[in-house]
């Protein structure tokens, strides 16, 4: 398939972007929640549901073999996409949340006990905090919190204080879903390893904005979802270093994850199937592979230019609005902008924007501790992808000004 080099070619791939909402052209700025799907992903899902459908790894018939090939080639595609050492290090899950929970269970059972501790970040999504609270309750470990400063950036000096030798794992986000800042994960990983801790990176947003190279990062786990990366919902990835995954026991038992079963003793299948009990979402996984091939077909320079120009157009427009405060200031800002307007409620703004055809996110965005940190009950978030346009950012800023005027 030929490369996508401009905005017209890009948008032509997304039928969902061409619809009207409340009679207005849709401006879809809720990509941080989920991305729209390109045609080739949609057609693969249709093709499999209407023909190429047979349960994988089980049968000798043609349909099963075809689906198994699609499923396993998606594993190879993911491996290459994030530069993992081998396909066995790629585990398919139902999403970022499931991936974090898998590690919070299996890793904790194997490596964490009373007296140990775990570090999470106060800016993070509930799905990267709650599983670790639960793991600490079970194991008797202590949960420690990496704080962020006024700009939303990690306080790295504090990290050194927290790393007292008791820390077994740090689980933090590559890019905050609220603040849109690319965190210094490489530096954190270096310091963690020096102190004997392993690191899980929540890449739900990180995988979407920029190249991820797990070897270069030297992270121990990297997790993300398919649906924010133009793939289908219900698909996710857990990357883990082989030596860690080998030592961890399975989290769920069932078919496909076993080598041999008797009623008294079961031996488990080798990686990666040890962690993939039951019939997986094989159509979804195949389509995730297709989504990644789609991402790889987009010209990198086009993507970089879009991310930079969309972010600066949004910042320019928003900074001129009186009483509006943007959260998360950094040179490494991505087109994920959350803000609050003095004297105006975020839900009112989102409701009026919706009426004008603009889809944004509002509320706590699953980050209640971060909202508390900034003394708020919610924010509005505009999150963009390279298929969004400068025109849309201007229409959005106009719509926002109109909504604020109505509410003030």
């Amino acid at each position: 398939m030929s490369a996508i080099e401009n905005i017209t070619q890009m948008r032509d791939n997304f039928p969902a972007l061409k619809q009207k909402v409340h009679g207005k052209d849709l401006i879809y700025f809720d990509n941080g929640a989920t991305a729209q799907k390109p045609l080739r992903v949609i057609s693969l899902i249709n093709e499999m549901n209407s023909g190429t459908n047979g349960n994988i790894h089980r049968a000798v018939h043609e349909l099963s073999a075809k689906c198994t090939t699609l499923y396993e080639s998606a594993r190879e595609t993911v491996k290459n996409f994030i530069n993992a050492s081998s396909a066995e290090e790629i585990i398919f899950t139902s999403g970022t949340t499931a991936s974090v929970n898998l590690v919070a269970n299996s890793f904790t059972t194997r490596f964490i006990s009373k007296g140990d501790s775990v570090i999470v970040c106060e800016a993070d999504h509930h799905s990267n905090i709650v599983p670790w609270q639960m793991a600490c309750l079970r194991s008797g470990a202590t949960l420690k919190v990496l704080p962020v400063d006024e700009n939303g950036e990690w306080i790295m000096d504090e990290l050194d204080n927290l790393l007292d030798g008791s820390v077994k794992i740090i689980s933090v986000a590559h890019i905050s879903n609220v603040l849109g800042i690319s965190n210094p994960v490489k530096e954190l990983i270096k310091r963690a390893h020096k102190s004997g801790a392993v690191v899980l990176i929540d890449g739900a947003q990180g995988i979407v904005h920029g190249d991820v190279d797990v070897k270069d990062l030297d992270c121990d786990f990297y997790v993300f979802s398919g649906h924010k990366l133009y793939g289908p919902t219900g698909t996710g990835i857990l990357y883990g270093k082989r030596e860690l995954l080998e030592q961890m026991g399975p989290w769920m038992g069932g078919g496909d994850m076993v080598e041999s079963v008797s009623l008294t003793r079961t031996t488990y299948a080798p990686l990666p199937l040890k962690f993939e009990a039951g019939t997986p979402n094989f159509i979804g996984v195949a389509a995730l592979g297709e989504a990644i091939r789609f991402v790889s077909s987009i010209d990198k320079e086009f993507v970089n230019n879009q991310e930079i120009s969309l972010t600066s157009a949004l910042l320019d427009g928003l900074e001129n609005i009186e009483g509006l405060k943007i959260f998360g200031k950094s040179k490494k800002k991505l087109p994920i902008l959350s803000f609050a307007v003095e004297g105006v409620h975020h839900a009112d703004l989102a409701m009026l924007l919706d009426k004008m055809g603009v889809a944004v996110r509002s509320g706590m965005m699953c980050c209640e501790p971060l909202m508390t940190r900034f003394g708020l009950t919610g924010m509005v978030r505009a999150s963009l992808l390279p298929y969004n346009t400068i025109d849309e950012t201007q229409l959005f800023v106009n719509a926002l000004q109109k909504a604020i005027k109505m509410l003030k």
Partner: protein, 140 residues
């Protein structure tokens, strides 16, 4: 006036709006002009938590009727609340139990009461009905 008649009155008031903008401006005005809950009512026990906005609802029972006061931190939600309070407050429990709220659909605001909107309004209506059932049971 019966609940049905008040609902009809609201439908007529809204029938003058041809544009969604005018309708929402009216809701914003309603939300702004009405102090519908006493400060003492804005407390934790009356709070209905939505992901998007918070709603407070208090109920008093006197002379066989239930009197509601309510509030929200979001102004459009508050505007819609004021319509609900206008319909429900000062009614007998039986009247409230029987009310079907079809006027919400007629004035084109049903999307705001959908469970997907997470603004606390649907929970508020459930809570209103719950109060009515509770007061009706107490009476007997």
């Amino acid at each position: 006036m019966s609940i049905k008649e008040v609902e009809q009155q609201i439908v007529e008031e809204f029938s003058v709006f041809t544009d969604w903008l005018d309708k929402y401006e009216y809701l914003i005005d309603l939300g702004r002009s009405l102090p519908i809950i006493k400060d003492s009512g804005r407390e934790e026990k009356n709070l209905i938590k939505g992901c998007q906005s918070r709603v407070w609802l208090a109920a008093d029972y006197a002379d066989g009727k239930i009197w509601f006061t309510a509030d929200s931190d979001a102004i459009i939600t508050k505007g819609i609340i004021s319509l609900l309070v206008r319909v429900f407050s000062g009614r007998t429990p039986q009247e409230i139990i029987e009310a079907d709220l079809s006027f919400i659909k007629q004035i084109g605001l049903e999307e705001n009461l959908s469970p997907t909107r997470a603004n606390g309004l649907l929970s508020m209506i459930k809570q209103i009905k719950f109060y009515a059932v509770a007061f009706a049971a107490n009476k007997q």
